[in-house]
Symmetry: C2
């Protein structure tokens, strides 16, 4: 975190000059006069990328395995319809997603050399992703990290990247509430970890 | 507009402290290091309610006619699937929507006495409404205002309420761009009006 990242101190719940839908007073009486103030939906929080040594330390095979395992869980889930049934095409999706993870974790331009900038939000627009679909994506990633025994020392940084990143894919809102946050502190115990990633 | 409405001077394109997806530099190279900054999608602009004398001047019958005409246009359109095929249920939707318009235009608590606060955004969550669906809703309202010969003097205030209000119903995003704005100035000529609602 450097001095430039002043947004790290931003109070999302109380942005100056603008109100959020979550702050609506739902007990208020309807009064269709005057001017209804401008609003925003919610703030997509900052995303800290994981350290670049993850690729070297975890290894390409493990990272690919993680992506494959995660996608196979999703495919059999309530959001399975978001994935193609054609094996060949599914394999292409898997490879491309793995390339993204490899690059993000320090494996060089495995993704961007082939596909350019990920623009994850834009790339997911063809698929309806609501808050629940994002929850499923994230919970299955947690399961994958556990089931594949990703070493404990990587979990915190991995999670703190995945969790806010997954929010950017939400393109269908079904509630006035902000999508649920899952801070590492709330899942650490599932990995036998304390709040600071310590055993 | 009173002194309280300082948001009237808010520069939506450059909110202090927070960036919008529309401001993304899509030519930037992917660089998965450091922290990706927090973002918002777009600002739902303020909504000026129309004057309360519209109800008395236009009359209940004309306002109900407008709502019925508009809904019948939508029902036969690309967003027709959003409306029920059952005549009885459709009629209930029509009556309820008309009650909302009547109340908003000064007809007393015709809506809220029966249904409470409209909470239009929340009420529309069960229906997938993307930017295109909102365009259709709005363009058919323009057509209804024209086809039913709503007196020219009401058009500007009507439109400047409908246009930003329709944005609040968008719950499925399919683009990084802000949904299109349709300022009155850009449609005035379709009603044989100048930019200030003058013939």
């Amino acid at each position: 975190m450097n001095a430039k990242n002043s947004y790290q101190n931003l109070d999302y719940e109380n942005l100056p000059n603008i109100k959020k839908f979550t702050a609506c007073d739902i007990t208020q009486k309807f009064n269709p006069t005057g001017i209804k103030e401008p609003m925003i939906d919610f703030v997509f929080p900052e995303i800290p990328f994981p350290p670049k040594n993850f690729y070297e330390e975890l290894g390409e095979e493990k990272i690919r395995e993680l992506v494959f395992y995660h996608h196979n869980l999703m495919r059999k889930s309530a959001i399975g319809h978001l994935f193609t049934h054609e094996e060949d095409k599914f394999k292409i999706v898997l490879e491309r997603t793995a390339d993204f993870f490899l690059e993000a974790l320090g494996g060089g331009e495995k993704y961007s050399s082939k596909y350019g900038h990920p623009h994850l939000r834009a790339r997911h627009f063809p698929f309806t992703i609501d808050e629940k679909a994002r929850d499923i994506w994230l919970m299955f990633f947690k399961k994958a990290l556990k089931d594949l025994d990703v070493p404990k020392k990587y979990i915190k940084a991995f999670w703190e990247w995945l969790e806010p990143m997954s929010l950017r894919m939400v393109n269908r809102r079904t509630t006035m509430e902000m999508p649920k946050r899952y801070p590492f502190e709330t899942i650490a115990h599932e990995f036998g970890l304390g709040e600071n990633n310590e055993k």
